[in-house]
Symmetry: C2
Subunit: 769 residues, 2 copies
């Protein structure tokens, strides 16, 4: 754990340059706008530790799969988000000496990620080897309003000399992914050009053939006045720049403002990229830096209005939760149904920037409750559009007749992951994709989605489960063999309770949805039925038979579900008895030892009880929670949130708070020593859930939103804002009172502690607790 | 299946050049002498399909591990046998046109691997593009007598022209492994030199630093007369040659005899390699080709005397079995305890040339029965010397106090394999290593081996098993979780019957051996006990407790052992009901489908019944055989032999013959479409077992050798020769009679069909059946 970032409610602040931690700070201070993103790299040269990262949403490279031993069914490639052209670069030379914070004396260094307004600001003083001292101030952002653009204002003031300053704003596409299987470069150059004060560089990805055109235009000011400058064009391989040399005087500030755009062939016709980039750059150049920045501040204010969580009495917690909300919002804006939420967002390369079940199981509730329903709908549509690939994927593994297995990791619907125990066996992901449809319809009431898209996906998934189980003559039950549950510290197990349960639930929900769609739109139903050859009676009968005769492993004496067959054959040691030096297990123990142990990576049985809590009584949930929680090491960042929600439900407030703490500052304090690779974006949604569903007890039941809040003892109060079917509500909770403010122009009926409560339009209700 | 090689009792013959099959023929026609080996590559240039292969025993490269996703405990490298300097090369230029069979018209082509005398002979006529026609005859061998040397006689006769012939005998070390994880070259050049008619090239492996010095000396004859020649030295990177130009006349033969040596730093001081190579080359040059060849013929005759199997009435079967014996004998001669038997021997790169449990489970019986006991003893000593590494390996996985886990794949005792389900879980290999000690002592009576080495290994292995099991409070038994049995089509299963059984047997045998060693050499026993901190009472008590309370999965109704927990939950389909197009499963089915199926890759429960047949009644063996065999796809070449032996034991003669057929011509007929990668050397020993232990019913019981032969209906007779404790016996079997000839100068007491029989010195016994 590290504690070098300053606590502040709205900003992440580094004071004094932490050279060794630079890659961590770069991750934390990443900027993004859903369309492009950028790690907190320096504009000027830096020879110290840095992971360069510029990402363009939807642009990936199918990196050839690397395995030790090939197994049938492995995918050919792993899609990787690409480090793209560096558009922030400005080389700074002072009398022919290059500014590089790794080789200077640095003081008064300050770096701030301002989350309220969405910018990154940096200032420092530096003494170069020659003794020349400069003061630098830089500020930049990725525009939410013009979401293919970014802008930088970079100022240099000589502190103890007069001389020459050369500023070289550049676009550099001669970059690599650190995470490349065979150390290849992924881009080819297509075109480059420069003109006075501007430059353009077009690259194309190998194999996938995505084009990205990066353009820049800049202006220079001295003492606040525009300066006419000489600009020397520089062209190298995949690199284009303009070199500007200026005379500078001690104490006088020179400022370069750089406007850049990243246009991808995903969003523009390839042959118009150049002309559009020129128009785009010209347009934001005309707006100017100050206007862009004030638009940015307004756009962020609008976002915060719908999602902010305010914590009184704990600045670290306040900063932590806002950081999570900010990074989530930078990653996915929900405007493009082709995009999704990579586990690292735009903050690093790890996990390839691809889509995991994290989206459906952990992120969807955040967007459902804080954004326009179309955002969640787009996340669902993403999977709908991948249905043909999911069917193809299942077919490749030997399934028939329209069975769909969604991939574990994907960019375009094709499977990328290549560990058999996950790729082929961690099939519960299919359940989460069905659950997301249910979750969406429950929250929004949008049954049309079922008619248009949902049912088709549900039938594909149901077909998979009916083929994936088999009848055991031994048990006289259906069994599901050879799976990996959410707890990836078990592989290739039989009858994982969670997987068996969600499989049956999927079958039920598919049947129920088929009947519902048939009711509300019989014509669309028939069209779909015929198109996908849905043999209604037979398929439903088969599904019912499985639902009725599925085997669920239990431990009768303990009155709990068994995580899988044979779980109780393990030596039942507890996490608290593990010597501290042996954790995290995934770094300290060999894989076989982990597999043989009873220790659980992340909620598994409990994940099921969380999803389907209404189907189990509290005593059952408590017994399972009390058995499994002490065996869970939470070595997935997705685990604590589920435990926080269940603990809150069971009245274990201290426990709930403890679990919340494990994720809220995970990246800010670099708990797991891995923030340098990027931030844990998808688990940030879990942190939101721990507050809103955990402390706030938010649920949606029968179309009504419901709350049961309590205030953690460590806080004075907290408040969160959620949307529900057109209403906007702020729930504030202190140790003694819940205050519900209805910000919307119509009354809202809700449940508070299971009792009906109507909050009138623009009204406030206060309830003592 | 292919059938292009001519049937012959003593030779493998290709008539007419099968260009497309060349890599297969190269594999089949590999030569070796235990110290070096060589695929059947051409001496002259060949631009068609070829896998160059020259191997020097014990010389390997630690190729950096390639995995998709790293898991704790994976080894850093995979040791690879190296393609070493090509010493056979002779470039042939006819009036400046290079001879290359891929670009000529070829006729009268014949290639013969003569197994009786151990040489490879090739002849052909070729018309070059210019129309010039030549006749070539080439013969070469790797000397058994001078086992670091090889010799080639290469003759060229112009058929329709007078002209210039340039012969360039070369040594080329600028070679690659086809099987390189990152496409690197593994050798650096150390030294090269040429002199009149000779040349030397010294290379060093990267990382491991093995030196191999290859030397050659040659002479030229025309029309049988030595020719003085001009020799032009050629030196390129890792390449050295002498170019000899000669005038040739139509119909007159020019012959180059090339003598070559491969000296490795494993066998010679590095700084003496050059001088020793020169001496070695000079020595064999003085012997001359004819003497070397006649020594070779004699050495092979001596080998055949002790191991031949003669089959009457089936030339294909005769050729098949001799091919197996020949290749096994070329691979491992037993003279060097640092060497072992790679699955491909010297016939290809696949499986890295490393040591697997194949050696102990399948190859040892062959060497025990056909070679001096020191050969088998050296195989055992190989593992004894690796004991410290096996302890280190277990320690790395979390085991303590001297527990030893032998590697799945190794060159120097360190684990190389990197699939967790095999590396960490296919631990039954430890059992085979203990079983080999038992097998050796049973066959030889050499209890001193136990005193000196065996017990220490057995204690290390026993310590592993005692830590690897755990007490299940659920079952009130010891269980063994997370293993992969011999059937690799199941991974990470619980309570694999075979593994549980052999684990208990290891504990028993270790206890029994400790007691025996204590009796026969109490002093050595005490010394060992103190050195390895063997806490006799406690460790034996623990082992006894495990033996008495181990859990063995069974199916009570069927009266059979369960391959593992949950096996009977699978859909119990049979191999015979699989559509033909779906096999082999490992090429047609996804890995998860294979894992979920009931299909068995190779004998698993049956492997245990084969090892421990005396502990089970025939009815039990039969029930298990009848249940598991129809579910076994035999997709390991090691499977049929075990089934052949059990089938023979159960009187299922036709079945036994069928299983025998599956392996005896596996490579000759390229059944599995993979002979081009090399031959299945270790499974060749299984073929021998199918005949001798299967048809011949050979066993050793209570120090006596025992037979129960029958003659397959397809044969007139067969005969095999075995050694037993100093005696040499030939057993001939016809449908009606068994003839046992005692070739040794002392009488032999044996069992025939369980009845005692004494065969007097040099005597013959005939028994009707």
């Amino acid at each position: 754990m590290k504690d070098y970032l300053k606590h502040d409610p709205w900003s992440i602040i580094e004071e004094g340059f932490h050279h060794a931690y630079n890659e961590i700070t770069e991750s934390v201070m990443s900027l993004g706008n859903g369309r492009m993103g950028q790690r907190g790299n320096f504009e000027e040269q830096f020879s110290g530790p840095t992971l360069q990262g510029n990402y363009v949403a939807g642009v990936y490279y199918p990196d050839k799969t690397r395995v030790g031993w090939w197994k049938n069914g492995y995918p050919e490639y792993f899609a990787k988000v690409l480090n793209a052209t560096n558009w922030i670069g400005i080389q700074v030379d002072v009398d022919y000496e290059t500014l590089d914070l790794s080789t200077c004396d640095v003081w008064d260094f300050r770096r701030e990620l301002n989350m309220r307004e969405g910018y990154l600001k940096r200032s420092f003083s530096a003494r170069l080897k020659s003794g020349r001292e400069v003061r630098v101030e830089a500020i930049r952002f990725c525009s939410l309003v013009d979401d293919e653009a970014g802008a930088i204002r970079y100022s240099v003031t000589p502190l103890n000399f007069d001389g020459k300053l050369t500023l070289t704003p550049f676009l550099n596409g001669d970059i690599k992914n650190r995470d490349a299987n065979y150390d290849e470069k992924f881009w080819d150059e297509v075109h480059k050009e420069t003109a006075y004060g501007e430059a353009y560089l077009e690259l194309r990805t190998k194999k996938t053939g995505f084009h990205v055109l990066t353009g820049m235009k800049f202006q220079v000011f001295q003492n606040g006045q525009t300066v006419e400058f000489q600009s020397l064009p520089v062209k190298l391989e995949k690199y284009v720049a303009n070199k500007v040399s200026l005379d500078i005087r001690q104490g006088e500030e020179t400022t370069l403002v750089k406007y850049a755009v990243n246009l991808s062939s995903e969003n523009h016709p390839t042959d118009e990229l150049l002309v559009r980039a020129k128009q785009y750059v010209a347009r934001i150049f005309r707006k100017g830096f100050d206007q862009l920045r004030s638009e940015q501040a307004q756009a962020w204010a609008d976002k915060w209005k719908f999602m902010d969580i305010v914590i009184e009495g704990d600045v670290a917690a306040q900063q932590g939760i806002r950081f999570n909300l900010f990074q989530l919002s930078q990653t996915y804006t929900g405007e493009d149904e082709r995009l999704n939420i990579g586990p690292k967002g735009f903050t690093g390369e790890k996990y390839g920037g691809s889509t995991y079940w994290d989206t459906e199981a952990y992120c969807l509730p955040f967007y459902l409750a804080t954004a326009d329903p179309k955002v969640a709908r787009n996340l669902l549509r993403y999977r709908y559009k991948h249905l043909p690939k999911a069917i193809e994927n299942a077919h490749k593994l030997g399934f028939k007749a329209g069975a769909a297995l969604y991939p574990m990791v994907t960019m375009n619907g094709e499977e990328c992951h290549n560990e058999w125990e996950i790729t082929f066996e961690e099939i519960h992901r299919n359940g989460a994709i069905a659950y997301a449809i249910f979750d969406y319809v429950r929250a929004t009431g949008d049954e049309r989605y079922l008619v248009e898209y949902g049912l088709e996906v549900l039938i594909g998934i149901a077909r998979f489960w009916t083929q994936r189980v088999n009848w055991s003559t031994e048990k006289q039950k259906y069994v599901m063999l050879g799976v990996t549950g959410p707890n990836e510290y078990e592989n290739n197990v039989n009858n994982n309770w969670y997987t068996n349960y969600i499989a049956c639930w999927c079958l039920e929900y598919a049947i129920q949805t088929a009947q519902r769609v048939k009711e509300i739109d019989p014509e669309r139903y028939r069209t779909l039925r015929d198109r996908i050859h849905f043999r209604e009676d037979k398929e439903i009968a088969t599904a019912r038979d499985i639902i009725e005769n599925m085997y669920f492993p239990v431990h009768e004496d303990l009155g709990i579900f068994s995580q899988q067959d044979g779980y109780f054959d393990k030596e039942q040691t507890l996490v608290k008895d593990l010597p501290a030096g042996q954790r995290p297990l995934n770094q300290k123990w060999s894989w076989d030892r982990i597999l043989r142990s009873p220790f659980i990576k992340q909620a598994d049985v409990l994940q099921g009880l969380y999803f389907f809590e209404d189907r189990f009584d509290d005593a059952t949930i408590r017994r399972n929670y009390e058995y499994y929680e002490p065996r869970t090491v939470h070595e997935s960042s997705l685990s604590p949130c589920v435990h926080a929600i269940l603990a809150a439900k069971l009245g274990l407030k201290e426990k709930a708070y403890e679990f919340y703490l494990r994720t809220s500052r995970l990246d800010l304090d670099d708990y797991n020593n891995d923030t340098e690779d990027g931030c844990h974006i998808t688990s940030m949604a879990g942190t939101w859930m721990a507050v809103v569903k955990g402390f706030g007890g938010m649920r949606v039941r029968d179309g009504k939103v419901s709350f049961a809040p309590f205030c953690p003892a460590q806080w004075i109060s907290y408040a969160f804002t959620v949307r529900h079917r057109g209403a906007l509500l702020t729930i504030q909770c202190t140790p003694t009172e819940v205050v519900i403010e209805n910000l919307s122009p119509q009354p809202v009926e809700l449940l508070l502690f299971d009792k009906p409560l109507t909050v009138k339009a623009k009204g406030v209700e206060r309830v003592s607790i």
